[in-house]
C-alpha cells in the first residue's frame, strides 16, 4: 500500500472546493504550510484569512463568517483547534449550529518528535461530547479529500481529524464516501475490528495475520465517529458477537468509547479497545511511538484473539492484558 499524506489531499480538496463554490472561506492560525491550507491561500487569496496565533478569535471569526452565509474551514493542529478553543467552538459554533468545519491535522501519537504537547489524543472526546457536532476521521488521504468536499454539503458544524504522517491508502478513488456511513473493508464472522484513521490500515494487516490462524475478522472503517453508524455495527455484531476498536486516540472518549456505549446499551457483546491508555505521549519516531503505546497491527491481533477467547470462556476473568 502506498503511503500518502492526508494533509496534502485536504489542501487539494480545498482548492477544488474553492473553484466550485464562491462561499467557501478558509481561516488559518499560522500553520498553513503544515495544514496545507496554504494551497487554498495561493489559489483563492481573497477568501483566505490569516488569523495569527490566536485560535480562540479564529473560531469566533469563523462563526461570524458562517452567520453571514459562508462555509468556513478553520484549520490548525488538533491540540489547539479542539483544546484551546473548546469553549469558543461550543458557544459560537456548536450551540448556534454554525456552518463551520474545524479541520485538524497532527492528530495522534504519530506526530512524533514534537512530543506530548503536540500529540492530540483527546480531540475526538472533546468534539464528540458537543451537541450538533459531526466528527469525521478519514482512514486515508482519499477519504480526507472526499470528506473535505462532503462537509461543504453537510449543513452544520463538523470536526475532521487527520494525521501528520503519511498513511497507507486503504480506499480507492472510485469508492463512495458518505458522512455517517461506515464501510466494511473485509468481511468476516469471528470478530468485528472497528477502526478509524490510520488504524484502518493496521486493522487490515491484523486481519491478514489472523486469517493465517484461521480467524476470520471483519474490518470496518468507521470514518465518521459521530453520528456512529450503528446499523453497520449491529449487522456486524450479529455475526461476530465481539469487537475490537482501534484508534490513534485515548481509549477515553473516542471511537472505543462510542462503540462501547452503543454495545453496552444494545446487548453487551464483548469489546476490547486498542488505543492510547490514558497517558500522554512523548518524543520519538512515529514507528517507535506506535509500538511503545500499543498501536500496532499485532496489538489489534492480540486484542482480537483475546476477545474471541473471552467469548468462548463465558467471560471469566476477562481483562485486557497483552
Amino acid at each position: 500500500m502506498k503511503n500518502v499524506s492526508q494533509r496534502s489531499y485536504f489542501g487539494k480538496a480545498l482548492v477544488e472546493l474553492g473553484n466550485r463554490r464562491e462561499d467557501v472561506v478558509v481561516l488559518d492560525a499560522d500553520l498553513c504550510s503544515s495544514t496545507k491550507t496554504g494551497d487554498f491561500a495561493a489559489a483563492h487569496p481573497e477568501r483566505f484569512f490569516q488569523m495569527g496565533i490566536a485560535e480562540q478569535n479564529m473560531m469566533g471569526t469563523a462563526a461570524g463568517l458562517a452567520a453571514s452565509g459562508k462555509i468556513v474551514y478553520a484549520s490548525t493542529f488538533a491540540v489547539f483547534a479542539t483544546g484551546r478553543c473548546w469553549d469558543q467552538i461550543r458557544q459560537s459554533i456548536a450551540y448556534p449550529e454554525m456552518n463551520v468545519k474545524v479541520v485538524s491535522t497532527h492528530c495522534g501519537i504519530s506526530v512524533g518528535g514534537d512530543g506530548a504537547s503536540h500529540q492530540a489524543l483527546e480531540d475526538v472526546s472533546l468534539m464528540r461530547s458537543l451537541p450538533n457536532m459531526t466528527v469525521i476521521s478519514p482512514a486515508d488521504a482519499e477519504e480526507a479529500y472526499k470528506a473535505t468536499l462532503a462537509m461543504a454539503e453537510w449543513d452544520g458544524p463538523c470536526y475532521m481529524r487527520m494525521g501528520r504522517a503519511d498513511f497507507p491508502l486503504v480506499t480507492k478513488e472510485e469508492d463512495e464516501f458518505r458522512i455517517g456511513k461506515a464501510s466494511v473493508l473485509k468481511k468476516g464472522k469471528d470478530v468485528s475490528i472497528v477502526a478509524t484513521g490510520q488504524m484502518v490500515a493496521l486493522a487490515l494487516d491484523a486481519a491478514r495475520a489472523l486469517k493465517e490462524e484461521g480467524i476470520n475478522a471483519e474490518v470496518i472503517n468507521m470514518s465518521t465517529i459521530k453520528p456512529l453508524d450503528t446499523e453497520t455495527l449491529a449487522a456486524s455484531l450479529a455475526k461476530t458477537r465481539c469487537a475490537v476498536t482501534a484508534e490513534e486516540h485515548s481509549i477515553i472518549g473516542g471511537l472505543g468509547s462510542a462503540v462501547a456505549e452503543y454495545m453496552a446499551e444494545s446487548g453487551g457483546h464483548l469489546l476490547l479497545r486498542v488505543g492510547v491508555r490514558d497517558t500522554f505521549g512523548e518524543s520519538g519516531t512515529p514507528e517507535e511511538l506506535m509500538e511503545k503505546y500499543g498501536l500496532t497491527a499485532e496489538d489489534i491481533a492480540i486484542a482480537a484473539r483475546k476477545v474471541i477467547a473471552g467469548n468462548t470462556k463465558k467471560r471469566k476473568g476477562f481483562l485486557w492484558r497483552k
Partner: protein, 277 residues
C-alpha cells in the same frame, strides 16, 4: 453638531425608559436575570435599534441589515425588550424570559428568536463574531455595518484583544464596538478586581479609533455613530455609564448585576421609571 432634533432625542429617551421598565418587569417575572448591566446599556441599545441601525423587524434575515452582536450576553433582558418593542416578536412574550420552552433564553440563543444574530453568554466572544461578520460583508461588497456591545468586565478576557488585533490588521471600517463602561463586575469595581485602565489608551495602542462618550446621553451616542462612519478602521466607543442607571437605589450597586428586584423594589423602580407626560 445639532443634527438631531429635540423630538428625536425625546422619543429615544422615552423608549429607553420603556426598555428599562421591561427589564425590571421581565427579571422580576423570571425571578432572576441581570438588570444592572441591562440598565447601563439602555440608551446604547435604544439608539442602535431605534435610530442608528438599518434593520427590518418584519424581515429579520434581510441581507442588507446592520448586524448587532451582544457580547455581554447576560444583558439579554434589555436586548429582548428592544427587539420586542421594535416588532421582532410580541411584547407580551417578554414575560416568558428564562421559562421552560421560551424563545427568550437566559442568554441569547441563535435560531430561536428573530433578531438574535449569535448565541452569546460566555464572555469575550462577541468581538470575534463581529469580526467574522465584518469580513463577510467586505467579501460580499456589502454596505451594512456591524455593531457589537461588550461589557467592561469582559475586557479582562484575552480573546477580545486577539479580536482587536484582527480588526485593526484588516482595517475593518464597518465595525463599531460599544464598550459599556459601567465600572462594576460581579465581585466589585473593575479597577479592584483586575484593573482595565487606561482602557482608551490600550485600544488606541491596538490600532483602533477610540471615542469616549457619556453612555446615557442619546445625542452623544448618535453623534459618535455618525463620526464612526467617517473614520478609517474599527471604532471603539467607550460609553461611560452607571450600572443600574435610571433606578436610584440600583445605581452603582454591584448586587444588582445578577439579582432581580424584590416585589417592593419592583414597585419603587417602576414608579421611578414612569413615562413623563
Amino acid at each position: 453638531m445639532p443634527r438631531h432634533d429635540d423630538e428625536t432625542i425625546e422619543r429615544l429617551e422615552e423608549m429607553s425608559r420603556t426598555l428599562r421598565r421591561h427589564v425590571i418587569e421581565m427579571t422580576c417575572e423570571a425571578g432572576s436575570g441581570h438588570p444592572g448591566g441591562s440598565l447601563s446599556a439602555a440608551e446604547i441599545v435604544t439608539a442602535l435599534f431605534f435610530h442608528v441601525m438599518r434593520h427590518d423587524p418584519k424581515n429579520p434575515t434581510w441581507e442588507e441589515r446592520d448586524r448587532f452582536v451582544l457580547s455581554k450576553g447576560h444583558v439579554a433582558p434589555v436586548y429582548y425588550a428592544a427587539l420586542a418593542e421594535a416588532g421582532y416578536f410580541p411584547v407580551e412574550e417578554l414575560a416568558t424570559l428564562r421559562k421552560l420552552g421560551s424563545r427568550l433564553q437566559g442568554h441569547p440563543s441563535y435560531g430561536r428568536l428573530p433578531g438574535v444574530e449569535m448565541s452569546t453568554g460566555s464572555l469575550g466572544q462577541g468581538m470575534s463574531v463581529a469580526n467574522g461578520m465584518a469580513l463577510a460583508a467586505r467579501l460580499d461588497g456589502a454596505e451594512h455595518r456591524i455593531f457589537c456591545l461588550t461589557g467592561d468586565g469582559e475586557m479582562q478576557s484575552g480573546q477580545n484583544w486577539e479580536a482587536g488585533m484582527l480588526a485593526a490588521h484588516y482595517k475593518l471600517n464597518n465595525l463599531v464596538v460599544f464598550l459599556d463602561r459601567n465600572r462594576l463586575q460581579i465581585v466589585g469595581d473593575t479597577e479592584d478586581v483586575m484593573s482595565l485602565e487606561p482602557l482608551a489608551d490600550k485600544w488606541r495602542a491596538f490600532g483602533w479609533n477610540v471615542l469616549e462618550i457619556e453612555g446615557h446621553d442619546i445625542r452623544q451616542i448618535l453623534e459618535a455613530c455618525e463620526k464612526a462612519e467617517k473614520l478609517t478602521g474599527p471604532v471603539m466607543i467607550i460609553a461611560n455609564t452607571v450600572k443600574g442607571k435610571g433606578v436610584t437605589f440600583m445605581e452603582g450597586v454591584c448586587d444588582f448585576h445578577g439579582r432581580c428586584c424584590t416585589a417592593d423594589e419592583r414597585e419603587r423602580a417602576l414608579a421611578e421609571l414612569e413615562v413623563e407626560e
